[in-house]
Symmetry: C2
Subunit: 468 residues, 2 copies
């Protein structure tokens, strides 16, 4: 007790502060570790993020050095700073984003500069009293109209930044207190520095490890189809409590389809960015980007069905964990799942490698036939079981699976049709491979059932190194 | 033939041009009409858009007039233009957006200004050769780090704009060719004009018809729950081919739940904006906005089930349009649907009016009981029908409906729990209403089953005029 009291007597302002600061300092190492973990995770998930950060640093440094050397500095004056500002605001993650913002900025500056110059001239005719009134009116009307136009969905998607810069430049030019010839000079140098900034930005963005929004969209949609396949690959075995083949598809993998449910906004923004991009890789200038939105929307519809199927799986697990299902039913269900999985996987691979998905439809048709068989098995079996008065829960559960699977198959057929539509519009070409090479490279999980599969299979092996 | 030839003989440059221009001019009226239709639709859908456009115009005009008067113009020099720029880039649709951007801009400018000043001073110690190298290095490192930080999801959601302005201001200050005292003056005037711009913006945004992101989020989530209710209101009657009550719920209304499926990004951005907002209306400063995300995510899970139920509805319509379903089954299904619909509607109304949803749970419990009854009816009936060897398709279809409905009910229970959690955290209070007023105002579709409902019901009537 005496010791406690004596320690309290020493308490002044400094120890009091220390008592507050100490826990914060004690937490610092843990916070630093957490930050480091997050940073490495972020970088590992997509190394292009690190590259992008370095690219932005490079572009700004290049422009600022370009600007630092006297001849240029004397030539453009302080407005050269606009070159640096342009790099900072225009440089986006993808080439499409950068080109879109750059074009928006240049075009809006040109148009608003001309209009602002006109407004400035008109207002100067109004004399000392009329000038501020007219200028205020012009600025009010143009700002209100441009702001309202930003609400149009099509304008918002592609020209939102342009409209912002339009108002900005118009106000800057029309409201500046300079004389007309000074404004013309200002407008000219601003335009030129913005162009220089845009050139540097586009150069670094396109020629140093470019990130194409179109390629990203293409792979995103293909990966989503792959996630659907992964679900079906695991679903049959999980539902019937069978051991997983090679243990390759775990529970975590099966849930990958969930990201599809919220992919709409991402797909839409990538499509908008992709439309700014020039020809690159296998993508032509007018690649049918809008078809990806269709496929994406069908993917989401299908993912909704998987969400319900997944709910069934949980119910099955909790309510009748070890129950055996009638043999033929299980067989047909497993067949449906494996055919759907193979079909979707081939579809995803075909899409990724840009070859026509020739055999996917055949797999889905087989799944359809199996679903019909399931239905008739269900009928027969119910009659048998009914007379034996066996577990009714089991019947209801498997019976309810069959229309849901049929519904899902219908959804997948639509996905296949959309991908085939994309393949025909975009002109995907099947790649011929000498048949002698085929058997040696056969190692994937796909089982080639006839010639077409071999073709699709081989393209994958050949192109495997291409994505960067 | 002769006439054709003679008309071709006259073809010169002008007629050739006319032939191209004419169709464009011919299309102009149609295009103008289309534009007008789109504009009126956009304005009618949400009149706040028009008000927002006028508000932006007003704020810019106010700042530019403030700037036009000589004393201020002479005081701040050309940097006053930054006030106008600030208004343009900071003014957002919602108060939360405007405050967030304003705070980001002010804080980032302050921090980057100080750092840039330091960098400028350090670089000047390096002499004529060291200066550009050190400046280049500083700019490269800071730009790369800030750009990478923008990839952190939490930073992107709240401080993306601030990080952009940070790089921008740092480059502007550190790279400027001025002497130190000039930079200090520049930084001071820039800071002051940005503050003036922010003040004007926030003033107009908050005091002229404010749009609160928090209120929008609150109503969005309540409307989504209402959409789920609307689906169930129509589903039972549609499925069993019964005449709709009063014809009020059409096919179009039933599909409203589809917008929920893609509401995630909207809800997330509204939540981020709402967190910047001060106390307003019934919302306190630390209102639990994150719980809305939980409810939204459960709404989407439920909407997935509705998507599948809707698919069943289409199948039923096309494959067995006029088939009669066994009486007791139909009754129980209708009961489930009407109870779910009432429960969800009360939940939505309670949420909208910020009173605890006291009776919603009771409705859902009733729906659960009905679902259990449906199950046992299904058992009995199947034995009867089996012996009569009647239509099997019907059995499978209705049997498959029952686990799906049970699954959906489980999902709705979670929604009710989340809303109750929100009600308790946010401190929703039940409003006491004199019981004498109750019978006169009873006109809605809700059937009060005990006292609590009356309370919820009356609050709605009282508050009906409050949303603006």
């Amino acid at each position: 007790m005496a010791t406690e009291k004596s320690s309290n007597e020493y308490e002044g302002l400094l120890p009091f502060c220390l008592r507050w600061v100490k826990p914060i300092f004690a937490k610092l190492p843990a916070m630093a570790v957490e930050l480091a973990t997050m940073t490495t995770k972020l970088a590992k998930d997509d190394m292009r993020r690190v590259v992008h950060a370095l690219k932005v640093g490079l572009a700004i440094t290049l422009v600022s050095l370009f600007y630092y050397f006297k001849p240029l500095y004397d030539g453009f004056g302080t407005s050269t700073m606009w070159a640096v500002v342009t790099v900072i605001v225009v440089f986006e993650f993808s080439v499409g984003g950068t080109l879109g913002r750059g074009l928006n900025r240049v075009m809006a500056t040109l148009l608003a500069g001309a209009l602002g110059f006109g407004a400035h001239y008109l207002a100067s005719l109004g004399g000392d009293t009329g000038r501020p009134i007219m200028l205020g009116l012009f600025v009010f009307v143009l700002a209100a109209i441009s702001t309202f136009i930003r609400f149009f969905p099509k304008m918002k998607a592609r020209y939102d930044y342009g409209l912002l810069i339009f108002i900005l430049t118009f106000c800057m030019v029309s409201l500046s207190g300079y004389r007309d010839d000074e404004i013309a000079k200002l407008a000219y140098s601003r335009m030129l520095t913005i162009l220089i900034g845009c050139c540097f930005t586009v150069f670094v963005c396109v020629f140093v490890c470019p990130v194409w929004a179109g390629t990203d969209l293409h792979h995103l949609v293909a990966n989503n189809i792959e996630s659907l396949a992964t679900f079906f690959h695991g679903f049959g075995a999980e539902y019937f409590g069978l051991p997983q083949e090679q243990g390759e598809v775990g529970k975590v993998d099966m849930q990958k389809y969930r990201t599809i449910l919220n992919s709409k906004s991402n797909e839409e923004s990538l499509t908008n960015l992709a439309r700014w991009e020039p020809r690159h890789g296998k993508f032509r200038y007018r690649h049918p980007w809008k078809v990806y939105l269709e496929i994406g929307s069908l993917n989401r519809e299908c993912a909704c069905r998987l969400e319900v199927l997944n709910g069934y799986l949980q119910t099955k697990r909790t309510q009748m964990p070890s129950q055996q299902i009638h043999g033929p039913l299980q067989e047909e269900c497993m067949k449906i799942c494996s055919e759907l999985s193979s079909g979707l996987r081939e579809l995803a691979m075909g899409l990724r490698k840009m070859v026509p998905p020739l055999t996917a439809k055949a797999h889905i048709e087989k799944a359809k036939i199996a679903a019909e068989n399931l239905k008739s098995h269900l009928e027969e079996w119910r009659f048998e079981e009914m007379n034996n008065n066996k577990n009714a829960l089991e019947i209801v559960h498997v019976a309810s699976l069959s229309p849901l699977l049929l519904d899902t198959i219908g959804c997948i057929v639509k996905i296949v049709d959309s991908v085939q539509k994309l393949a025909s519009i975009a002109g995907f070409k099947a790649v011929e491979v000498p048949s002698s090479v085929a058997p040696e490279q056969d190692q994937g999980s796909m089982q080639p059932c006839h010639g077409d599969v071999l073709v699709a299979h081989h393209v994958i092996m050949i192109d495997e190194e291409s994505p960067c």
